[in-house]
């Protein structure tokens, strides 16, 4: 079968799968799977025969993990979902991130309350990762507006980077056995100390596999005008690290606002990075005019991309996992909105078109060629 492009779309009312030929001329939509149930996380696992995963987090009946082995034509529950031991005292409230691990079947899963689980059998059984779940900081983290979530897992050999809201960036250099807070240069706007050891509201972290040590972060910005204790803290929202996340520096100057949720790196160029700046009060694009912003020099300067997007009166939010990019020769960006639109930006965001305009509010978008 010719290569196909698959999108998994997690929404407030279930998961959808969109499929297209790699020319991306038309997309066929399937779903909803887990209808009516919020899906905050999906994963396309391409290591062997493709497997699709979707979290299904029912406020009534609890957390499930769904798996598809037929490219998203059907989903079934795995044998179990992550769960805390009974004597731990915590209870799973949501599944925020799914990532592939080593080998063919290892999976990692970030949850709310902020914790990490690992599966060695493709999601049928799960073990807590005590190095972060029982970290001395873990009971001191505070929930952000979306909950106390471990939403980002970035693996880089023996290094594991975690994004926790609000806990900050945690780094393991021993494959996930131990973690330490690694937030030098990562600002916080909601505490008197602008640069605490931990407790930052990291929104997303991204890396490029061919740029060792480099990471990009969308942090909770929007504190330039703060006049309380600790003073204003401009440009803390978009950051870069060149030392494997040990320290971070701002690359926000040039953006219309440093607040936003997702951050995405071009698959073929580690210097090209995308953010969606949002006004902190409304969490929508400045002036109601949606635009992505792209840097082609690692964050030194930024340019606005909006061709094809609405020019006014658009007040949607793009959530932290609702933007991604495919790995085709001329990659396309995809972002989903809280108003249920799924947009595709061809040629790295040069031209946008709306693929679907009336889905449920979108939490998560992933893409892969299968």
């Amino acid at each position: 079968m010719a290569d196909r492009l698959l999108l998994t779309i997690g929404t407030r009312k279930g998961a959808f799968v969109a499929e297209a030929a790699t020319a991306r001329r038309s997309f066929a939509l399937r779903g909803p799977f887990a209808p009516g149930v919020p899906v905050y996380s999906t994963l396309i696992d391409n290591r062997a025969a493709p497997r699709l995963y979707a979290s299904s987090c029912s406020p009534f009946f609890g957390m499930k993990l769904l798996r598809s082995t037929d490219l998203g034509k059907s989903f079934k529950e795995t044998k179990s979902a992550p769960a805390f031991p009974k004597d731990d005292g915590r209870a799973l409230a949501n599944i925020w991130s799914l990532e592939v691990g080593d080998g063919r079947k290892e999976l990692w899963c970030g949850v709310e309350p902020a914790s990490l689980f690992r599966s060695s059998d493709g999601g049928d059984s799960w073990d807590m990762v005590p190095g972060i779940n029982n970290h001395e900081h873990a009971r001191k983290w505070e929930p952000g507006a979306g909950g106390l979530c471990l939403h980002t897992i970035v693996r880089d050999g023996a290094r594991v980077h975690l994004g926790i809201s609000t806990g900050g960036h945690y780094l393991s250099e021993d494959g996930g056995r131990t973690f330490r807070a690694s937030n030098q240069g990562v600002g916080a706007g909601f505490a008197p100390d602008p640069y605490p050891e931990f407790g930052q509201c990291v929104h997303k972290i991204a890396r490029h596999e061919k740029a060792p040590g480099r990471l990009y972060m969308q942090n909770h910005g929007g504190w330039a005008d703060w006049t309380g204790p600790g003073g204003p803290r401009p440009n803390i929202g978009v950051l870069r690290s060149d030392d494997h996340g040990r320290s971070w520096r701002s690359i926000a100057p040039g953006l219309p606002t440093d607040f936003g949720f997702p951050i995405v790196v071009h698959p073929h160029d580690a210097d090209t990075v995308y953010v969606m700046p949002l006004e902190p009060a409304t969490r929508s694009c400045p002036g109601g005019a949606p635009a992505l912003w792209r840097s082609e020099n690692g964050g030194d300067s930024w340019s606005r991309l909006s061709r094809g997007l609405p020019k006014k009166q658009s007040f949607f939010t793009i959530q932290r996992d609702a933007m991604t990019i495919d790995r085709l020769k001329s990659p396309a960006l995809y972002f989903g909105t809280t108003t249920g639109q799924l947009w595709m930006g061809r040629d790295g965001g040069e031209r946008f078109e709306c693929l679907f305009d009336a889905l449920p509010p979108i939490h998560n978008v992933k893409v892969a060629v299968v």
Binding site: P59, F60, F61, G62, A83, F84, K86, D88, G89, L92
Partner: protein, 106 residues
Amino acid sequence: MLRATEGTLRTVAMAPVVKIHLPGPLRPYCAGASQLLVASGTIRALLEDLEREHADLYRNLCDETGTLRRHLNVFVNSDHMRDLNGVDTILTEGDVVTFLPAVSGG
């Protein structure tokens, strides 16, 4: 479909037999049954029976700490459990215990 659990068979002589009514989304977790018969003296004991005999169903009703899920309502006949004695509500022979998701919108 009505099913009796193994626990019912073991404890029927000591505790009242009550009927559990299950909404559609929960039936896949007990082989499609819409009703179960259990012998339990309280809601708490009923949940403990379900944890032993229908672990998959139990995980839909209670979280890892054993707490009933927040947006799930439990009725004994026509009365909400919270208006009785919560999980310590005493059950009597022939009671109907109904698990229902809370009304929600959006």
